[in-house]
Symmetry: none
Subunit: 217 residues, 2 copies
């Protein structure tokens, strides 16, 4: 670990901002962008502090070149590997009326996601469906949304799951709660909507919702 104690508040801010900026943009910031982010009003003061940081060994500068700035050791060599995307199989379209498993493979590409959207599970334990139509509005899910699910056949109270209801022959996404007497309460995500009570035997859990992705337009 490097000592940050010798650096002034501003110099620490500059290093932190540099790190974030490079990670986000792929190129270093300008003097003025640094000034704006760290609330330094004068470009010369930023310049002054940058030269300080060079002398202290935190930065390398390429004189006269715009954005000619580079961290000696980016903090973003963090343990969690940023930058990797995973692919999840897109199982098909979900439409009220069909159990999830019966979906035929569509020709859609697999979905690219980031590890945090899988709740730590391996892509192989997980599948994705694209919702078709507005039948899931009470689950706050609209036409075109992609839902990432973990393959499970049971659920604990409070989890959001995809269930297929034998009686009505439909698939819905609801919060599931176990009630007394083998009853199950299915609670829509939409707060003003009423829950629904069904028999435990007639509802087949298809998967637990891990995340929802909506790409507009």
């Amino acid at each position: 670990m490097r000592k940050l104690e010798r650096l002034s508040e501003r110099q620490q801010n500059i290093l932190r901002f540099m790190d974030r900026y490079v990670a986000a943009n792929g190129f270093p910031p300008t003097i003025r962008e640094i000034g704006e982010a760290t609330e330094i009003n004068s470009t010369s003061v930023v310049n002054y502090n940058l030269n300080k940081l060079v002398k202290l060994g935190y930065l390398i500068r390429t004189a006269t070149k715009s954005r000619g700035l580079r961290l000696v050791k980016p903090m973003s060599d963090r343990p969690v590997r940023a930058g990797s995307a995973l692919t999840v199989e897109l199982r098909g379209l979900i439409v009220a009326g069909d159990p999830v498993e019966s979906f035929t493979d569509t020709n859609e590409d697999p979905v690219e996601v980031v590890p945090s959207m899988l709740g730590g599970y391996d892509p192989s334990e997980v599948f994705a469906v694209r919702v078709k139509g507005d039948s899931m509005i009470d689950a706050m899910i609209q036409d075109g949304d992609v839902v990432i699910l973990k393959r499970v056949d049971t659920a604990r109270s409070g989890e959001m799951v995809a269930v297929w209801l034998e009686s009505t022959g439909e698939t819905t996404l609801k919060y599931l709660f176990h009630e007394e007497g083998g009853k199950i309460r299915l609670q829509p995500a939409h707060p003003t909507m009423e829950p629904r009570y069904v028999n435990a035997r007639e509802c087949r859990v298809q998967g637990r919702v891990l995340s929802v992705i909506r790409v507009v337009k």
Copy 2:
């Protein structure tokens, strides 16, 4: 391995040079530096080919920024993974009552996303907000959702935007339509909810919604 056959000699040279340059310097080259290295005499021709490469998905450009150039997949980080994830700055919490710009930096980590969620834009042109509370339910967005927005201050009809309404002092996410007489219709995403009509002057567009991410629980 990606097909390089579709690229012209010059375009291949540009990509190769880019890769070498970034590895060596830590920041991308300028148009003129590219031209010199690849023996292209005119900056406009470099510019022309860069735009081609963007369209073909090899590069991401940040307009008007010097060295605002980045390889989609640097050849140097070989062992090819599924794809690359990008990071977007998380600007803060959105709460009804504050314009987006006033958000102070939270200490939350930047959001990791996949390129398709940015609609082709560079991460720097884009920001993310975490929605707090249930005030956006009519936009089909719930507590905890992360909304990815492109920084814009005007919108075309039919786009979903974040607007700050001066009169009521609130921020909402709505589909925006320009009506006759300088009026603007703000249409909720939820199909059963009524639109709202406001004066063009009193609504400030903060950003266009690109995507929504919901991680359950």
